[in-house]
Symmetry: C2
Subunit: 229 residues, 2 copies
Amino acid sequence: MTVRGVSATIEDYLKAIYDLGESGVKTQSLADALSVSAASVSGMLKKLSDLNLISYEKYRGTSLTPAGRRIALETLRHHRLIETYLAEALGYPWHDVHDEAERLEHVISEDFERRIADVLGHPDFDPHGDPIPQLDGSLPNPGGRPLTELPLGQVAQLRRITDQRREVLLYLEEQGLRPGETVRVVSHEPFGGPVTVAYGGKQLALAEALAGSLYAEVTGSLDTTSESA
Amino acid sequence: MTVRGVSATIEDYLKAIYDLGESGVKTQSLADALSVSAASVSGMLKKLSDLNLISYEKYRGTSLTPAGRRIALETLRHHRLIETYLAEALGYPWHDVHDEAERLEHVISEDFERRIADVLGHPDFDPHGDPIPQLDGSLPNPGGRPLTELPLGQVAQLRRITDQRREVLLYLEEQGLRPGETVRVVSHEPFGGPVTVAYGGKQLALAEALAGSLYAEVTGSLDTTSESA
DNA sequence: CCCGAGAATTAGCCATGCCTAAACCTTAAC
DNA sequence: GTTAAGGTTTAGGCATGGCTAATTCTCGGG
């Protein structure tokens, strides 16, 4: 168990429920997210319900109680602060921070949390652009829209990548596509076709699903030239 | 379980066996060190023996095999590097690093270890003056002798405090007695009497047992004036 | 040499979380 | 409205690591 009186496993369940949505989280999606059998999830949901961390009606899905949400957000804050610290202070590449943070998040003290937040100047976002839950439980607004929803030719700044898979992040890194980059959507083929994005003098065609996990903020509202509209 | 294929519990047992001595470590001392019942220790010793991490004859005490020692040293290296990092990079006070390191040591990757070692310039000693096991398995020579064995009046530099108790470290810190300080033993009363040490313009009388856990290195071999010999 | 004290081990049990297999709901299609 | 499929829960186990109580061993003193 961790510093806060619940086990690391429980923290992982609450975190997973949190980012699977506001309510009606299904057993099977949790099982998938946690790489665990549905039966195990059922057992744990019973337990979390007894602990008043989730509300749960059998066969009906689950959602966090305020107490459960609080723990989920604290854990997420740990995770994202650690990711940021690993990148900023220890020079970790972007795509390597997740796994390390996944283990560290459960064992650091509040003191540790405070100290790295101080060193980092109380950041709002982690290296993937994900918002870091604040001490008061609020979430900074991440802003931006998925590349799939950006008008063609619109110049925008890449803000966030929500895909968590290491290989995907590694690929984007290799292609030089990371938060902060200025991008422009050149084309978006219909029927699930690829999204082509221009940035830093090159173009890249992305699967639509992947493009949907990249969020960019419109900067100057300047449209541009070339093979856009 | 940790990065290295054994559980955090096993790492703790091996670490405890390691610093309880070269051989013939007794069940009860392990139980005391780990705050666990002697029965639990017996069970675990059986298991560690099956894993070839210790050699163990029932009722005869135990000692580490090379494989066990390797894991103990790796864990200790983690622990002491983390302690050093917490103090140097995050401004932890001396007496707070132990508990935090105790949890972190089991979950950091080799990558993390390498990065903090780099940042710290591959130190030989942690904030308590304990030697940090090196990558090749060697231990830097800590040097120094216990204050109880220093000739009266001998000027020496405080190198190491082996007592692990937080309250004790806090006390020494409050008294300004920390590694690096120049000290001189003023008196040592017989029959377990206190050891009085002079440093930084003040004097302090320490219990003999405590004085025995403070190690100092003779610097200039100058004896001095005043109420010495 | 024997005996008792104290240390160590075994026996039997508990909690946590995981698993597979079997039973059970819910729902959508007919 | 019935039914079959699929998702969910229950039943029954396993591994880890802890506990207490009972047993067994070792060793020093007589």
